[in-house]
């Protein structure tokens, strides 16, 4: 008997009653005289085999039960021993398992659909039982929910104060934007970057949104972008900031026009003195226009929330700002110690009426937490908060040596983006320059900021000039006509006062303007806004706070409206609180490339916090579309610009994003049943869910090194067309080296000059490759130029746009490959629809997986030789992946192998398929603006140059694109746009 059987038997016998001993040795001995001396049988019983007691079933050796029946039993002990068994049995009988339904008793032909819901479909004799069971199951189902049952009625829950508390609780982890509730009713929301953001509307609007971007206006809430304010002497600020940027990548913080405050600039920030590696990400910045005779400057840097922490620490080091300034106690009503620890920092805004009254009534009834809150003040409506920092961290840092002050203004300023040629007319219709106040109010002292400002003549004239500029905006037909990045400061009336009764579409009113206006318009188009008009009071903390605190509540406004004599007419005079300083910043559209230039231009609207909804609804009433996160992705895709953090693989945020994306795609893949999954191994796709950029760069580096040595050795007998195959072989033989080599990180090429050079070498054409574009003074593409280029930019990737020349829609992580010479012939023959194909790959892992299973089974049967035999990789006829075998066999613990995916250490990526891989696509879609499939992605600079060098001139820049789920290659034209 094997060990396992003994164990099972012991387990079975453990609970057997002691009183009955079936064929144990003692019993047999006892019974033997009674049975009449069947000694031979009893003798056999005594063999060690049956020593353990009773045995199931008939025994072959004729030992009947009768002979082993006990003579007597002790009743009490016998019953007690059975009691446990019986009770277990009873319990099992009464307990219904999941699938035990009453209608199981019915024959199949009598069962009806939905019997379990509608018991009347059952025969009457079963109805009672079914009803009872249904109730029982309902109870069981609702038990969990019952525990956290809502203790209060809906009416109580919806009371204003309680609702606010609930809202505050819900945004402890992920902060809401001011437009959250508006969005939550209409959008699919996700929790991302510490915020709750709308991804896409629940209604279908992909094309309408595109149309809005290209002909009218699309609105987005970008308040989740973080603003960091820097204050200090101009030269010191510039000196410290210059460490973060490099002039090679384009204009920096010190570009003259940006520095004057007339334009918004954008830069890619690197870790201090680490250019060109270790980039942090793109930021936009805005200088406050100079005040007269002062070198003290103020700078806002707008960054994506994912890079904020990195950027902040980097800024602190370059500015030597490490002294945290404890936030002043004044704005905080609640002492921080009394705040719940998870609560995000908030500056409570006392709600004038609605918040306080219900609170006061409810104090006796509230729970511990609530009462504690009440003790410290009325519940604060959380009009701001910040998902990227915790409450105890300081938001201001100061430097004693340089005098620079860094301020974290996250969630202090609301930022809306309007995209589209009509965005300025939407703005012009929604906003109205602030009206002056009458003499009586002017004379009275006031706590509000606007009456104060009205007393100052200079400020009034400035305001009038700004209003003039704003009014000329109306005479412009398209937002793209203005100089890109123009800034306009303004003070406007509360837009709620001019809310139209009906939703309509804002259209430009271009009329034959008077000569003066025409002159002004020309001035605006050519020079932009004059410097002094870029000033806005939004820059001043005190004004911002004043405006936020004195906002008229919706309720109050409605009351005032109801008192107007003619219903629906405008409120006059404008209430004193209704003046808001704003900042309008022009956003350039598509700036690179030759086509669709300035597509997607628009305006950004910056407001003081708290005023978000007051501006949002009036904007929506002007007929704009609202877009979510996915629309900003499409916007940048149509612009041909990399989108953050998707397309910044060299930034920490980009790397994090890629990991998240991989996990997400993997999850989605694994949710499908295995038989329905795409077999990426057969498609020859090594990494369908991520892009191993580092490995790509390293492999190409190696290929060129080998190629150079070879060329020297063979004295350049190498035919160019063979180069690809040679590369493959080289790759195959040198993969192991590349794995072991300690390599430097790859970087993304952002040097403008080099990009321009590269762009010229790619033979730029119009989008579908019909017409060549003219290139200026380009050095000829030859091997010496390439070598010198590569020494400067080895290990780097370059951002490219690929437009498909025929049909096809590129997808995420599609491969960019080098066409063979035969493929190019196919192209010139005009054979329509004939594109090269990848031969299907073999899945070696499948057999191996089966083998390992078998091995596992056979090892149980202690057949060791067979098991170890099947662990050996199957005969390697892998003509496609000769190099893969080495790392593969080592990576074969095969525990985490997912069917259809390559296990982790990937073989050579470049030479895995029949066409050499250059890079991958990070955004691909059918482009509605170009009318063909367009892909944006990165390719290896080394690989690209090698390819271009080997291609004949007329086909230069023609590459192949293959989706991960397809074997078809499609021809595409590469364009590098600077």
């Amino acid at each position: 008997m094997s060990g396992a059987k003994v164990k099972m038997r012991e387990k079975k016998m453990r609970n057997q009653p002691v009183s009955v001993q079936y064929p144990s040795s003692s019993v047999t001995v006892q019974s033997s005289p009674v049975n009449g001396g069947d000694t031979s049988a009893t003798g056999k019983r005594k063999t060690p085999h049956h020593r353990g007691g009773w045995v199931r079933g008939h025994q072959k050796d004729g030992g009947g039960y009768a002979s082993e029946m006990p003579k007597y039993i002790t009743a009490g002990a016998f019953a007690r021993a059975r009691a446990a068994e019986v009770s277990a049995m009873l319990k099992a009988v009464t307990k219904t398992t999941g699938s035990c339904h009453v209608f199981g008793a019915l024959p199949k032909h009598m069962r009806r659909r939905a019997m379990s819901h509608n018991t009347k479909r059952l025969p009457r004799r079963l109805r009672d039982v079914a009803n009872r069971m249904r109730e029982k199951s309902l109870q069981a189902g609702s038990k969990k929910k019952k525990e956290q049952a809502k203790s209060k009625s809906r009416k109580a829950r919806r009371r204003h104060g309680n609702l606010l508390l609930e809202f505050n609780r819900r945004q402890r982890k992920n902060v809401w934007l001011e437009t959250h509730i508006w969005h939550a009713k209409r959008f699919h929301m996700v929790k991302k970057w510490g915020y709750c953001l709308g991804v896409r509307p629940t209604y279908k609007c992909y094309r309408p949104c595109y149309r809005a971007m290209s002909t009218h206006c699309l609105l987005q809430d970008l308040s989740y972008y973080c603003c960091i304010e820097l204050q200090g002497e101009e030269d010191k600020l510039l000196a410290s900031l210059s460490q973060l940027t490099n002039k090679e990548t384009g204009p920096t913080f010190s570009a003259a026009l940006c520095l004057s405050g007339r334009r918004q600039g954008s830069v890619v920030v690197y870790r201090a003195a680490h250019y060109p590696s270790q980039s942090l990400g793109p930021v936009t910045f805005l200088w406050r226009p100079r005040a007269q005779g002062s070198t003290h400057r103020q700078l806002w840097i707008w960054a994506h929330p994912t890079i904020k922490q990195d950027l902040l620490s980097e800024l602190q080091t370059v500015c030597q700002c490490c002294e945290a300034v404890v936030p002043p106690v004044v704005p905080v009503v609640m002492p921080p110690a009394e705040m719940p620890p998870a609560e995000v920092a908030l500056t409570p805004q006392p709600e004038p009426k609605s918040g306080e009254t219900p609170e006061a009534i409810q104090i006796p009834r509230t729970k511990r937490k609530r009462s504690r809150k009440d003790a410290s003040g009325p519940p604060a409506k959380k009009i701001l908060g910040d998902g990227t920092r915790c409450p105890s961290t300081p938001i201001t840092w100061k430097s004693s040596s340089t005098g620079i002050v860094i301020n974290d203004l996250t969630m202090e300023i609301v930022r809306y983006r309007l995209i589209g040629p009509q965005s300025h007319s939407v703005l012009a219709e929604t906003l109205e320059a602030a009206t002056d106040i009458d003499e009586i109010n002017k004379s009275q002292p006031s706590s509000l900021w606007w009456p104060d400002h009205c007393k100052d003549k200079n400020k009034i004239t400035l305001h009038q000039q700004q209003a003039d500029v704003f009014n000329t905006l109306k005479g412009i037909y398209s937002s793209a006509e203005l100089p890109s990045g123009t800034v306009l400061g303004l003070t406007v009336d509360d837009p709620r006062l001019t809310l139209p009764t009906k939703k309509g579409k804002a259209l430009p009113c271009v009329q034959q303007a008077q000569e003066v206006d025409e002159e002004k318009r020309r001035e605006l188009m050519l020079r932009g806004v004059p410097e002094h008009c870029c000033q806005s009071f939004l820059w001043e903390q005190s004004v911002r706070d004043n405006v936020t605190d004195n906002k008229i509540s919706e309720q109050e406004l409605n009351r005032m409206r109801s008192e107007v004599l003619v219903p629906g007419s405008r409120l006059r005079p404008t209430p004193l609180q209704g003046r808001v300083p704003i900042l309008l910043v022009h956003q350039p559209g598509k700036q690179v490339g030759h086509e669709m230039s300035s597509w997607g231009a628009g305006w950004d609207l910056m407001l003081p916090k708290g005023w978000g909804m007051a501006f949002w609804v009036p904007l929506v009433y002007r007929g704009v579309r609202i877009g979510g996160l996915n629309m900003s992705l499409k916007h940048s895709q149509n612009k041909g610009a990399p989108h953050f953090p998707h397309d910044y693989p060299d930034c920490p945020a980009g790397v994090r994003f890629q990991d998240e994306q991989e996990a997400e795609l993997m999850d989605k893949f694994k949710r499908r049943p295995p038989a329905k999954r795409t077999n990426y191994i057969k498609h020859g796709c090594l990494a369908p869910f991520r892009c191993p950029w580092q490995q790509l760069a390293e492999e190409w580096e190696l290929i060129t090194k080998e190629g150079r040595e070879e060329r020297e050795g063979d004295s350049q007998t190498q035919n160019t067309t063979d180069a690809d195959t040679v590369m493959e072989e080289e790759m195959a033989s040198h993969l192991d080296i590349s794995v072991t080599k300690p390599a430097s990180r790859f970087s993304v090429l952002r040097n403008q000059k080099s990009l321009r050079l590269l762009s010229g070498w790619c033979r730029p054409t119009t989008s579908k490759g019909q017409r060549p574009c003219r290139i200026r003074n380009v050095t000829a593409l030859d091997s010496s130029a390439v070598t010198s280029f590569l020494t400067a930019h080895g290990m780097s990737l370059v951002w490219v746009r690929l437009s498909l020349m025929s049909k096809g829609k590129p997808e995420l992580h599609a491969m960019v490959c080098v066409p063979l010479a035969e493929d190019l012939k196919l192209l010139s023959k005009e054979s329509n629809g004939h594109s090269p194909q990848e031969p299907p790959h073999k899945n070696h892992f499948r057999r191996r997986k089966k083998g390992s299973k078998k091995a596992a089974a056979s090892s149980l049967s202690s057949d060791k030789t067979e098991g170890s035999g099947s662990n050996i990789p199957p005969a390697t006829e892998s003509d496609l992946t000769p190099s893969a075998e080495g790392p593969k066999s080592t990576s074969q613990p095969s525990t985490a192998v997912t069917f259809g995916l390559w296990p982790d250490p990937l073989p050579s990526i470049t030479s895995h398929c029949s066409r050499v891989t250059l890079g991958w696509v990070t955004q691909g879609d059918f482009s509605l603006s170009a009318g063909c499939g367009e892909a944006l992605g990165f390719v290896s600079v080394t690989g690209l140059l090698n390819t271009l060098l080997n291609q004949p001139k007329e086909h230069r820049g023609t590459l192949l694109l293959r989706n991960p789920t397809s074997l078809h290659y499609r021809f595409a034209k590469i364009n590098i746009e600077v």
Partner: protein, 151 residues
């Protein structure tokens, strides 16, 4: 520029006039190198029977569009606008329309000048080189294609 339906020529002819300019501007622009970036020509609202001709769309497609407007669209007259390089094509379209109508259509051509704006951005992003804006003029043609009034 003072004409009411001035070429709001979408993205016509941008490539065309620019080429002559970029070569000439290269001469005057040094010592600091500049990148030339052309803004779109000024757009104006267009009516349904305005046709702006460009060099990107296929010629036959544009011709077919005009024919459709005249025959199916029920317009008695259409205006064909062309700017710069597209002037040739606009004329061509108008003449083709007339020829295919067997003399039923008449043409009336007007020319005008359109002011275009160029941005010059310094390639070397130094504090010294300031971006410039300049205007240049380009010719445009507006051809009215119409059925003469039956009298």
């Amino acid at each position: 520029m003072t004409e009411p339906r001035n070429p709001g020529v979408s993205s016509i002819a941008q490539t065309a006039p620019a080429h002559t300019d970029s070569s000439s501007s290269a001469v005057e622009m040094d010592p600091v190198e500049y990148t030339l970036r052309k803004r779109l020509p000024r757009k104006l609202p267009k009516r349904r029977n305005d046709v702006y001709v460009n060099m990107k769309t296929d010629f036959r497609a544009q011709l077919a569009r005009c024919q459709k407007l005249l025959e199916g669209g029920g317009h008695r007259e259409i205006c064909v606008h062309g700017l710069g390089l597209a002037i040739n094509r606009a004329i061509n379209i108008a003449l083709q329309l007339q020829a295919s109508s067997q003399g039923a259509l008449q043409l009336a051509a007007n020319t005008s000048t359109v002011e275009l704006v160029d941005d010059l951005e310094p390639e070397d992003p130094d504090e010294a080189g300031e971006p410039m804006t300049r205007t240049r003029n380009n010719s445009a043609i507006h051809i009215k294609v119409f059925y003469p009034d039956p009298q």
